[in-house]
Amino acid sequence: MRILLSVLLFATTAFAIPVATNAQDAERGEKLFRRCVTCHTATDGGANKVGPNLFGILGRDIATRDGFRYSKALTGLEGNWTEEALNQYLLSPRTYARGTKMAFAGLKKSKDRADLIAWLKTLTNSEASPSSSAKGAEEPDADFALLAAGSGKQETYDNCAGCHSIKLVAQQGMNKAEWLETIEWMVDEQGMDPLDGSLNELIVDYLATHYGRDRPNFPK
């Protein structure tokens, strides 16, 4: 029995040695990235959305994408995004960078993280790019544009679009009590982090004003 066990262990170890990154991993990583596109673009010169544009993220100094307002949790980190740093961050963003704005809970499977990083690695210009502005215009985010203008729009976008489309918000019609209850339901049953009091108030007021029972902005 002991012999058999050690043979099995040996076999497992032998097969568990990670293989070098190949195209197939990156391809799978690209599919995995679909979970990220609500908040991140990855094209050269793509816009910052809820999160920063990720083109060229490998090797970039942490929290240095132009025009993005990073949390203190990210600006407080030293160094650049190495594969290992990204691997740790993606495992559990809120553990690695306590206080990060990124609502994503993390990728628990090491293969998922490895594949995603393999794909992120491909997002570089092999030759020197003339300038990022010449390559592609920043696209406005359609989801952000969908929200009615008013106090609380930015905060509503930042705190909702991480998990679901703004289209879902804009088709609702609820009063203040119902919006409050909806946020409580998302916290209780949908894994949302609670909003602090004044932020919650601002967002609920915005929603009840623009997406109230009379549906002033119903998109149909």
Partner: protein, 433 residues
């Protein structure tokens, strides 16, 4: 002429060696004007216009390399045609009533209701379905095992979202604002759920099933499921239920749950778990995600619109109510003819339809439509009738189905807090010129 590309448009723009501007030039023949604004050559203007179904009055102002917003969402719709997008994350899209005219809903016209993030790995060859819980012999089955060990059947089965018709609720109810088209009746190929459960051996104390799929929770947390519903064991043993691996003679559409899903006709679509990985049998009512609280539940008694109902007073929705849909003519058309055929489908949870009546005078008089038998248990039924409108003017055509138990569609919505089970008349407008 633009070449034919099978990649999603966003990917084509992103991956093009020369960047988005060059991608645009190749695809549409559009070149950037010297003043850095967009400029459409005749051919480019025509081909973008054809895709959008309209000209672009402000095309000179359109930045070079910009994907028209109307096309940018197209990647979520690959293999779907004509659906209305309610929500792209999670993906929810319904079919306009007039595009549901076929007796068997084509794959590209079947609605999509997602609760979470679709799985990345959906390889049919390595897919495993586990049957466990209170069974004599837990099973782990590949799709090949299902094919080899059980009778393979094909049936036309209705799947309808419990929230179909929510958009008409007043006061509004929270959730995706479905209008009429969160329903479809595709031809599903697979094995009967009952045969698989019997092979595992259902223990005497089982009262409920519990279903799990491979989709992920919206928050990205691995410890949470987006949806895990079940049904009483008696319903589960109904002949019509299937574990399906084919849709309309081909593969199941990825957004409809490929490579394996449950199809439980006549009950809320959420019972028909997509990306099915596990069915376990329990001796209690299943308490998985969206089984509890007020999800897929209605009050046990009628309430006035807008009433706040205590959670304890809700009960689980079982069979869907009697309903009909007018699929021709389309809503809002103008007709030069006073006489034309009106047709559509009707269905009623676990039972069949006995009659469909049509009115074109706001319900004062009704005429009986010709009604087909269902092609199999769980399929919707086709009906048709010719109407003869008296003179030019605006009309509404109303359809009203009656089921085999004598239950008839109501005119008004039986309002409930979560916006389920709206089976009020489908009405379409027609103007005779």
């Amino acid at each position: 002429m633009p070449k034919k590309h099978s990649v999603p448009i966003t990917q084509f723009y992103r991956d093009h060696d020369g960047g988005p501007t060059a991608a645009e030039k190749e695809l549409f023949g559009r070149v950037s004007h010297a003043d850095r604004r967009g400029f459409l050559k005749n051919i480019g203007l025509a081909s973008i216009g054809t895709l959008l179904g309209a000209t672009i009055p402000f095309h000179r102002n359109m930045p070079a390399g910009l994907i028209p917003a109307a096309l940018a969402d197209n990647h979520v719709f690959e293999g779907k045609n004509g659906l209305t997008l309610l929500n792209d994350r999670p993906l929810n899209a319904e079919t306009p009533a007039h595009l549901l005219d076929d007796a068997v809903t084509p794959t590209e016209r079947h609605f999509v209701r997602n609760n979470g993030i679709p799985p990345i790995d959906t390889d049919a060859a390595s897919w495993q379905l586990i049957i466990d819980g209170l069974v004599d012999k837990p099973l782990s089955l590949s799709i090949d095992d299902l094919r080899k060990n059980f009778e393979v059947v094909s049936q036309n089965l209705v799947i309808e979202c419990g929230g179909n018709g929510r958009a008409m609720f007043n006061p509004p109810a929270r959730g995706n604002q479905w209008t009429f088209g969160a329903v479809g009746c595709s031809n599903w190929t697979g094995v009967r759920l009952r045969n698989v459960l019997q092979a595992a051996g259902v223990k005497d104390n089982v009262i409920y099933t519990a279903h799990e799929g491979a989709d992920g929770h919206l928050s990205g947390r691995d410890d949470k499921m987006p949806l895990s519903r079940g049904m009483p064991i008696a319903k589960a043993m109904d002949d019509a239920n299937m574990i399906a691996f084919g849709q309309n003679g081909g593969d199941i559409h990825p957004m409809n749950g490929a490579p394996l899903r449950l199809v439980v006709p006549g009950w809320p679509g959420s019972c028909s778990q997509k990306w099915l990985t596990r069915i376990w049998l329990r001796d209690q009512v299943h308490d998985g995600a969206k089984m509890t609280g007020t999800s897929y539940r209605v009050p046990k008694y009628s309430v006035a619109p807008g009433t706040k109902v205590p959670t304890d007073d809700f009960e689980i929705i079982e069979a869907m109510p009697v309903k009909s849909l007018i699929t021709s003519p389309a809503n809002g058309v103008q007709s030069g003819e006073r006489s034309f055929e009106v047709r559509g489908h009707a269905w009623a949870g676990d039972t069949t339809i006995d009659a469909v009546d049509i009115s074109y005078d706001f319900g004062v008089t009704w005429q009986k439509a010709t009604l087909d038998r269902p092609s199999n248990k769980g399929a919707w039924q086709q009906w048709r009738t010719t109407v003869e409108l008296p003179k030019a003017g605006y009309y509404e055509i109303w359809a009203r189905a009656t089921d085999a138990n004598g239950r008839m569609q109501p005119f008004a919505i039986d309002w409930n807090p979560k916006g389920y089970l709206n089976n009020s008349f489908h009405r379409i407008a027609i103007t005779v010129t």
